[in-house]
Amino acid sequence: MITVDDLRVRFGETEAVKGVSFAVPEGSSFGIVGESGSGKSTVLRALSGLNDDWTGRMTVKGQVLAPNRGKDFFRRVQMVFQDPYGSLHPRQTVDRALSEPLLVHGIGDADARIARALAEVALPPAARFRYPHQLSGGQRQRVAIARGLMAEPEVLLLDEPTSALDVSVQAEVLNLLADLQQRRGLTYVMVSHNLAVVAHLCPMIGVMQGGEMVEILSGEDLRAGRTTHPHTTELRALSTELEEA
């Protein structure tokens, strides 16, 4: 479904992504973990079309991606950001936020679609005419996910979708993402600094450090400790150390 081959991104003198390659089968999830500055979000932004200054080869469903994407690409590939405070317009109601993708892509039947989308992310119908500040953090992230689903995409790019949430809300959002994937056959690429969160949702995980993807391994190998790169081993140790406390 998605292939990324020798992706490089430069910011002036520094190379933020140094030849990253990975592939994601249709209906599956690929997780990218790494610390701040490792380039994980930069990979996602290049893939999403938010940054057009890159070299390499990327395809989505067999189509080679050009630096500038057509409208159809932005319907099929949607992104959910970390902070729902920042990614929802504070002076637009949920209804307005959810109609926007429909207007942009010329999709009709807005009323029924919005009602359905709210139900799908388990928000009460009453949330429809609320403003973001009237919702809790978890509800806001559900709105952001619902907005991502409005145009019926095939791919969701998730940039730290649960990092700003309490752990109980994080569990609800992760379950929701798993359900949606199963129901709609979505393909996910998820970026997070939390190894356990990524391993929960993604069968394959890429570990980034200093702009390079130093290891790609399966969730099972990660859990069993079959890591090959020292950075992966270190991240895993930090994560399991706390679990055993």
């Binding site: 610390e35 752990v167 600094h193 391993a199 991240l235 994560s239 406390a245």
Partner: protein, 275 residues
């Protein structure tokens, strides 16, 4: 006991009447490491800040007893509180990016904190700052002393904050989510550093966080707060023996590497927890 709190309540006036953010919290603190864990809005930060009387202006605070080393915090004059804040009890905040002065070098900021609470010359203060930076395990303290906050990484910035709080040699540190903005590797380093400094200096530490496993790893005991109340107190090693359904819910809903589960258990909030 350094801190004694009995039946603390913190409330805020709203158009619908008073909203109670902290509801009858009692605790005592000696020279130990205590964690306060809870989700957003549980009242954990307000409880700790009450000790310094550092609350939003519209907050109403009441308690049967609220003392810091015998000083009645509720009735102390502002001047007496200022002698506690910073000097005897330091506060470390979440994000060094917003807590450091962007137009002062790290060294000058630490020196300023040192001179505010101890009498000495500028030169003495600057050399004390370099010494403090070395104490928070910065390899090249002279260079960092001359650096501006934007030239420092998040972990370095947090070390500078800690050095600044240590300058007046306080008896207590309150660390409010000190590592939430940091990477996992740096997070562990900073917490180990805090733990080490606190034990070596015989200080008291209140570590506030939403991360229960993390806190219990670094503290002697942990208070779990829910909706303004302490629902459970745990010895650090007893995490697996948590009794309260809320505490267990917090632990269960975490994805883990060691015990994968296809679906995460979701917290079902029992209204009885509120009473």
């Amino acid at each position: 006991m350094l801190v004694e709190i009995e039946n603390l309540t913190v409330s805020f006036p709203t158009p619908q009447g008073m909203s109670h953010a902290v509801r009858g919290v009692s605790l005592t603190l000696g020279a130990e490491k205590m964690g306060i864990v809870g989700e957003s809005g549980s009242g954990k930060s307000l409880t700790a800040r009450s000790i310094l009387r550092l609350l939003p202006e519209n907050a109403r605070i009441a308690a049967d007893k609220l003392t810091f080393d015998g000083i009645d915090v509720l009735r102390a004059r502002e001047g007496a509180m200022r002698a506690i804040r910073g000097k005897r009890a330091g506060l470390i905040l979440q994000d060094p990016k917003y807590s450091l002065n962007p137009v002062m070098t790290a060294g000058e900021q630490i020196a300023e904190a040192w001179r505010t609470h101890r009498k000495g010359s500028r030169r003495e203060a600057l050399s004390a700052a370099v010494d403090l930076l070395a104490q928070v395990q910065i390899r090249d303290p002279r260079r960092v002393a001359e650096a501006y906050p934007h030239e420092l990484s998040g972990g370095m910035g947090q070390r500078v904050m800690i050095a600044m709080m240590l300058a007046p040699d306080p008896e207590m540190l309150i660390a409010d989510e000190p590592t939430s903005a940091l990477d996992a590797t740096v997070q562990a380093e900073i917490l180990r550093l805090l733990e080490d400094l606190v034990s070596r200096r015989g200080m008291a530490l209140i570590l506030i966080s939403h991360d229960l496993p993390l806190v219990s790893h670094f503290c002697d005991r942990v208070l779990v707060m829910y909706a303004g109340r302490i629902v459970e107190e745990l010895r650090a090693g007893d995490l697996t023996h948590a009794q309260h359904a809320y505490t267990r819910g917090l632990l269960d809903c975490l994805p883990t590497l060691s015990h994968p589960k296809p679906r995460l258990p979701v917290m079902v909030r029992d209204p009885a927890w509120l009473s």
